[in-house]
Amino acid sequence: MAAIEMKNIVKQYGDGFPAVNDISIDVEDGEFMILVGPSGCGKSTLLRMIVGLEDITSGDMMIGGKRVNDLAPRERNLAMVFQNYALYPHLTVYENIAFPLRLAGASNEEVDKKVRDASRTLELDEHLERKPGNLSGGQRQRVAMGRAIVRDAEAFLFDEPLSNLDAKLRGQMRTEISRLQRRLGITTVYVTHDQTEAMTLGDRVAVLKRGILQQLATPRELYTNPVNLFVAGFIGSPPMNFLPATVEGSSVKLPFGTVTISADRAKRAQGKGLLIAGIRPEHFEDAAVMESGKATPGSTFRTKVDVVEWLGNQAFAYSPFEAPEEVQQQLLQLERDLDGEALHTQLVISLDSSSRVKEGDEAEIWVDSSKIHLFDPATGENLTVDESAAGISPSDTSTAEIADKQDSIASPGEQEAAKET
């Protein structure tokens, strides 16, 4: 087991495509680190540079305090689980798991003992003599994990291991991976584009965009203190609402009404003109179902709800609004960065399931004004971030320059390749 240190890692492809740009991440010994971001953000490339399948253009990759830039994959002693599992179809499950041990020249007794240990851990005992072709997706996934845990690797690397499973299995395997990692206490780097996996599995999460580190923090810090619009929009489901806002004194003017925020927060957003306010759906509530006295004036507004989705434990209400042109542009760009396709700007409100708000109603909605974030529309920077609880973020997270470079180089074929990595 070992710590992995990435120091100013850069990856530039032969055609000049800058896939990873000056990323520094320290993964502590035994830590579960998540690399997350939309497709083409360089997360898989970064992982493949750790394991040695991709050359490092510049920077230092340190594993256990040793620089490994020039070592071949087999000399790095890392275990990796591939997105498509990459099991050897001509070998039985037993031999698949034994493969790394056989290469290392282990004796038959040792191989047998370790393979059986691994198979017991992963409950593969009754499948040992079968070929991967006869296994279900979840079983193949476990064989791939077996091949990783059977040897004493310095660290585990996962490349979107759950993306080929159906939703239910994905949930089960997620807890399984988490349990396994806690038990073995082994350093783990896990790549995903799924923010749920990122939030649930990681000790810390690194959010990447266009090969640039945006924020490196615990899931809680990311959720409560995103450093910019991108992180705020990426983390959380349903995503954070972004509304045009103007701050005057301590009051914030939103499309639906005006709410009051604390003087301290208001001060930081003073005199910036038109801003983007970010409010998570659960920080709204139907004023009618709240304890009396809590929904004070200055923290409620009235809006017309056009769709209500009642889920049993909660309900979502949707309310469309018009955004001014400059905010609209910024939000559309953000949506593109997040691989999304927003058709129109709407407010998503999470309501208590006891709420009786119906479609077409005009409801009185309370908003927790202490949880409102204010973003600068030009830079996307969060003006109200609590820096003491926002983890690590490079001083410059802007991707405009890199985006131009990437877009000018990437032909359709390369964009496809970039998406894959």
Binding site: V51, G52, L53, A72, P73, R74, N77, L78, A79, M80, F82, Q83, N84, Y85, A86, L87, Y88, P89, H90, F99, P100, L103, A104, K131, P132, G133, N134, L135, S136, G137, R140, R147, R151, N164
Partner: protein, 283 residues
């Protein structure tokens, strides 16, 4: 849609089967006839009294060894030359195809197009030059004298077949092996080659058949039974009357050389199972 496999389909099957197999049936039937039966004019389809005599004569199981037309020597040459040419061609083609499928180098297209051009080159036009060259190099009428051209002419096809197979194998297989601690050579030998086995067998069969059936080079580059293969040797099957070749013995020789081909096809057919790679990646 089930009803479609009706009378018409079966009729079609039968027509095609008769069309393809009748000549073979004719040869088999001929091989069991006695020499006298064919020389006396229009023979009937089935032998009057079937005999193993022709097989015995050709395989040298009779007292008169000269009657066998040196068939056994030719058979030995055929096997030796075909097998060696096949092994060499497949080995070289495997390495070449792997490089073409995996590595990015300048002139890759050129190599492939050249290979294809060679495959299309008419063999007959090379007979003359080869004959002269082989005499100079003392390769005339030797095994290598046939093995080298056979290998060369089958390489392009083998490379094309194998590189198509290698391209089908996911890159991740190899990368996984490398992460698991394999060297490039180990990854190739333990993971890629077993996965490409169907392709290797296909290429091997094609190469073997080419060498086994080849006639033009075999007749031109050999002069004695030291290296003459069966197809060439059969043209030397002459009876007492030059205008009346021993048809029954020719037929018998044809049947005997067909048997290994059938055995090989039946043996390797099991190996050429498509979808060996299924299960490697997501289902």
């Amino acid at each position: 849609m089930r009803r479609k496999t009706g009378v018409g389909t079966w009729l079609g099957f039968i027509v095609i089967l008769v069309w393809c197999l009748l000549p073979i049936a004719w040869i088999v039937s001929l091989s069991f006839k006695s020499l006298a039966e064919t020389t006396t004019g229009s023979p009937q389809f089935l032998p009057k009294d079937a005999t193993w005599e022709n097989y015995k004569v050709l395989l040298g199981m009779t007292d008169d060894k000269t009657a066998s037309h040196d068939f056994l020597a030719a058979l030995r040459n055929s096997f030796g030359i075909s097998i060696i040419a096949t092994i060499l061609a497949v080995m070289i083609a495997t390495l070449a195809a792997y490089a073409i499928a995996r590595l990015d180098f300048k002139g890759k297209r050129l190599v492939l197009s050249l290979a294809l051009a060679i495959a299309m080159f008419p063999v007959v036009s090379l007979v003359g030059p080869l004959f002269d060259m082989w005499r100079t190099f003392h390769l005339f009428n030797t095994w290598p004298g046939l093995i080298i051209p056979y290998m060369t002419f089958t390489l392009p096809l083998a490379i094309w077949v194998l590189s198509a197979f290698f391209r089908e194998i996911p890159w991740e297989m190899e990368q996984a092996a490398q992460v698991d601690g394999a060297t490039s050579w180990q990854a190739f030998r333990k993971v890629i080659v077993p996965l490409a086995a169907p392709g290797v067998f296909t290429a091997a069969i094609l190469t073997f058949f080419f060498a086994w059936n080849e006639f033009v080079l075999a007749i031109s580059l050999t002069s004695t039974t030291k290296s003459r293969t069966v197809p060439a040797q059969m043209s030397y099957f002459v009876g007492p009357d030059p205008f009346n070749p021993p048809y029954v013995q020719l037929a018998t020789a044809s049947v005997i050389v067909t048997i290994p081909v059938i055995i090989i096809v039946l043996l390797f057919q099991r190996r050429i199972v498509a979808g060996l790679t299924s299960g490697a990646v997501k289902g």
